[in-house]
C-alpha cells in the first residue's frame, strides 16, 4: 500500500509539472503580455517590483520557467488582478466551497448510480429497465448547464422551494448560531448538489449497467447460479464487487467530467467555488488565477483517483494496486 501511494505521489508530481509547464508555454505563446497582472494599478510600485523579481519578469525564458516551477512548488501562485488579492487568498475561499459542493454530490451520485445501474442490469430486458435506460440516456445527453438551468427554473424560481443563488443567506448568515449556519448552507446546498449528483448518477449508472451485464455472463456467475444461490445473492455477492472494480476505474476517468459539471452548476447557482471563480477569471483574462485553479483542479482529480483505486482494492481484493 505504501509503495503504491508513494508511486502515485511521484506520478502526481510529474503530472503537475507537466500542467504548469503547459500553462507557462501557453502564457508565452499567446498574444499579449502574460505578466499583465504585474501592471495592475492597484499595486504599489514596490509591490510591482517585488512581483517582477519573484516571477523573473525580465529574465530569459528558461530562467523564468524554472522560477515559475519553483514558485508553484512553494505555493506562491501570484497576484490576481481581477480580485485585487493574492491568488492563494482567492483559492483559500473557493476551494473549500467546491469541496462542500462536490463531495456530497459525488458520494450520493456514485452510490445512486451504482444502485441504479445494478438494478437495470438485473432486470435487463424488462420494460422498467428499458424505461430507466431511456431516462439515463436523456440525462446524459442534456448539457450540464441546461439541466442546472432547468433545476433552477423549476425548483428555485417557479416553486420557490430553494434559494435562487449563493451559498449562504446574504444578510443573516453571520448572526446565526453554529447549527443555524450549517442549516443555512445546507438549504442552499441541496439543489446544486442534488443536480450535480443526478448528472453523476446518470453517467455512472450507464457504465455500471454495462459492467454488471458483462460480469453476469462470466462463468463463475454461472457457477454460483448452478450452485443454487438466489439471484439476488448472486448479484450482490459476486457480480457487484467484480463490476465495481471497472466502475471505480471508470469513475477515475469520470472525475474530470464531474469537475466540469461542477463548473457549470456553480456558475448557474452562483455557488462561490472554484468553478465560478475560474469562469469569472477567464472573462477577466486573469491568467494567474486561471492557471492556479487548473493546477488545483488537477490535484483534486489525482487525489480522487488514488482514493478510488484504494477503495476498489478494498472492495475487490482481486484488484491489485498497480502503480
Amino acid at each position: 500500500m505504501r509503495g503504491f501511494l508513494l508511486a502515485r505521489a511521484r506520478q502526481a508530481a510529474l503530472v503537475l509539472v507537466a500542467v504548469v509547464s503547459l500553462t507557462f508555454a501557453l502564457a508565452h505563446a499567446a498574444p499579449g503580455d502574460p505578466f499583465w497582472a504585474i501592471e495592475d494599478p492597484q499595486l504599489s510600485t514596490a509591490e510591482r517590483d517585488r512581483l517582477r523579481s519573484e516571477w523573473g519578469y525580465d529574465l530569459p525564458v528558461w530562467k523564468q520557467y524554472v522560477t515559475w516551477l519553483g514558485n508553484f512548488a512553494t505555493g506562491d501562485f501570484g497576484w490576481s488582478h481581477s480580485r485585487g488579492q493574492p491568488v492563494v487568498a482567492v483559492l483559500r475561499d473557493a476551494v473549500p466551497n467546491t469541496l462542500i459542493l462536490m463531495v456530497p454530490a459525488v458520494l450520493i451520485g456514485v452510490l445512486f448510480g451504482v444502485a441504479l445501474g445494478t438494478w437495470q442490469a438485473a432486470r435487463d430486458g424488462r420494460a422498467t429497465a428499458r424505461a430507466a435506460d431511456a431516462a439515463t440516456l436523456t440525462f446524459v445527453s442534456i448539457p450540464d448547464f441546461v439541466v442546472a438551468l432547468l433545476a433552477l427554473s423549476v425548483f428555485a424560481l417557479q416553486w420557490q422551494v430553494a434559494p435562487a443563488s449563493g451559498m449562504v443567506d446574504p444578510v443573516f448568515h453571520d448572526s446565526m448560531p453554529a447549527l443555524g449556519r450549517v442549516l443555512d448552507v445546507a438549504s442552499h446546498l441541496w439543489l446544486p448538489a442534488g443536480t450535480l449528483a443526478l448528472l453523476i448518477a446518470a453517467a455512472v449508472s450507464r457504465y455500471q449497467r454495462v459492467a454488471v451485464l458483462g460480469v453476469l455472463h462470466e462463468l463463475y456467475i454461472q457457477t454460483a447460479r448452478a450452485k443454487g444461490a438466489s439471484e439476488r445473492i448472486t448479484i450482490l455477492r459476486h457480480a457487484v464487487p467484480n463490476a465495481l472494480g471497472p466502475v471505480i476505474a471508470i469513475g477515475g476517468l469520470l472525475f474530470p467530467t464531474m469537475f466540469a459539471g461542477a463548473v457549470f452548476v456553480e456558475k448557474i447557482f452562483a455557488w462561490p467555488g472554484m468553478g465560478l471563480t475560474i469562469v469569472d477569471a477567464v472573462a477577466g483574462r486573469d491568467y494567474a488565477l486561471v492557471q492556479a485553479i487548473v493546477v488545483t483542479g488537477t490535484v483534486l482529480v489525482l487525489v480522487a483517483n488514488t482514493a478510488a483505486d484504494v477503495i476498489a482494492s478494498i472492495v475487490n481484493p482481486r484488484t491489485r494496486l498497480e502503480a
Binding site: G32, W36, P41, Q42, L43, S44, T45, A46, E47, R83, G84, Q85, I108, L111, A115, L157, Q160, V161, A162, P163, A164, S165, G166, D169, P170, V171, F172, D174, G180, L183, D184, A186, S187, L189, W190, R232, L236, A270, P272, A283, G284, R285
Partner: protein
Amino acid sequence: MRSRFVRSAALAAIAALAVLASSCAVDRGRGGTLVISTAGDPDLLFPPMQRQQQAREVTDLLFDKLAEIGSDLNTIGDAGWTPRLARGWEWSLDSMEVTFHLEPRARWHDSVPVRASDVLFAYSVYTDPAIGSSDGALMASMIDSLTVRDSVTFTVWYGQARPERFYSFVYWLVPLPEHLLGSVPRDSLRTSAFTRAPVGNGPFRFVRWEPRQRVEVEAVRDYYLGAARLDRVIWTIVPDGQTAVQRMFAGEADFIGVPLSPAEVAEISNHSQIRSVRLGSTQYTYLQFNMVDGPASRPHPILSNRELRRALTMAVDREAVARNLVDSLARVPLGPLARVQWSADSSLRQLPFDRDEAARILDSLGWVAGRDGMRSRGGQRLRIGVAFPASSSQRQRLATLLQEQWRAVGVNAEIERLEISAMMSRIGTAQFDAVLMTVAPAPSPSGIRQTWSTAAHSMSNGLNLGKYSNPAIDASIDSAVSASSIDAARAHYRAAYQGLLDDAAAIWLLEPIVVGAVNGRVTLPMLRTDAWWTSIPGWRVSGEPPPAVSDTAPRTP
C-alpha cells in the same frame, strides 16, 4: 437488504434536514436593517481613489463632506448647500477666499475629533499626482492654497473667480483621518487595510466587507447630527435585475439599486408590498468615434470624415434602438449631457433618422455597394469595429443592434467584445474605430471638458478617447466654464453641444430612466437625483417582516 435500508435512511435524513433548513431560512424579523441589492462589488472604499458607483454608495454614508449640495443640483455659487462637517463658512470681500468652521462635535469612528488638519491632509492626498485623482486635479487647478487657522478653522484661497469654485472643492473633497493615514506611504495607500475597512466620521460606521458577497455598515448612535433611523445597512450583490427582483419577492432584500427593465417593473407592480422607485441618474451611453489612427495620430482613414460620421448617425433609428433595449424607460440623450444638468436644452437640433439620406451621402463619398450589399471604395471595405467592455451585456445588445442598423445601409460593423486589459491597450494606442461608452457625469456641466475638449487629450482622466479636437468648441467650453452668470454659461454650453451634434463626434444612444424598487415597509424621503443613497440616513424601516404573498390586483408603477 441491510445496505439498502441504510442507504434509504440516509437519503431520508438528508431530505429532512434540507426541508428543515429551508423553513428556518424563511422566518425572519429584520427590524431596523435595510438590505440593498446592488450591481457589484465596490472596487475600493477610499474616496480619492475609488471609481465605482457602488463604492460611493457606501463611502457617502461612512464619510461626511464639508457640506451637501442642494436637491436642485445647482453648482454655481454656494446657495442651497446644507452644512455638514462645516458648520458654516464666510467669504472674503473679493470672494477669492472662503473660511470654513468645522463642527466641533464631529468625531471619527475611533472617537478622535475631526480637525482642520484632516481637511488639509485630505487635500494633499487628493491633489497628489501619485494618487491620480481626477477630482483632485480639478481642485488643484482652481485652488491656490489651503491653510489651517486652528483646530476647527481653515481657509481656502482661490486663484480665479470661477463660478463653480465652491462646488469643485466641497462636492469632491472628503476629509480623511490624518492620525490613521498620515504615516502610510502614498504609493501604498491603495493596498492599505484602510481601503478595505475604512474609518469614517459619517452617520454609519463600517462593519464588514465580504468581497463579491456583501458590505455591511451600522448606525453610529452618537452621531452629532442625530443618529440615523436605521440600525444597519447591508448591500448584497446581485448579478442582474431579475435576481434582484426574485430576492425582493423572497423577502431577502428591501431596496433594489440596480436599473430594472420594464418587464421587471411590470412584475413589481403586481406585488402589493413592493413599489418601483425612480432613481435619479445622470448616466448615458454613446458611441464614440476615433478620429485618429495609431500612435502616430494620423487621421482615421474612415472616421475623420465629418460627412461619413453624419451618415452613420442618420442610418441609426435611435428611438427604436432605445425602445428595444428598455421599452418605455428609454430616452435618447439630447447630446453630451444629462437632462438633470442645469445646462440641458431640449431645443438642440438633432440629426434625423434618414436611411435614404445616409445612403446618398455614402454614395457621394465613393463608397459603392457590392453584390452582397456591403460598401467598399478602392478595394477597401467600409468596416467599422464597435468595441465595448465584455462585462456590459447592455452594450453587447447595443452593438448587435447597431450592427444590423448599419448593415441596412451597407456598412459592415464588427463587434469587438474586449476584456478591460485589451480595451485599455487598444484605446491607449488609438487602435480602434468606435467604442461604446457609458458615463455618469457629475452635476456640473463643466465635465464636458473631460469628454470633448482638446485639453482632455492630455488629462490623466480624460475621456476624449477618440482625440476629437475642434477649436470653436474648445472656445465655447472655455467661455461656458468661466462665465459669471448661469444664462451666459447656458448659451455657451448650448453652442458647444450643438457643435458636437452637428459634427457627429459621437452617436448619443441611450439615457435610460433608472427605476429601482423598494419594499413598502421602507419610508423614503425625497431622493437626490445624482445620488439617491445620500438620503439613506433619513430612511425608516418599520419592524414587521413583509408578507410573502403577492396579490394579483395590478398596481400602477
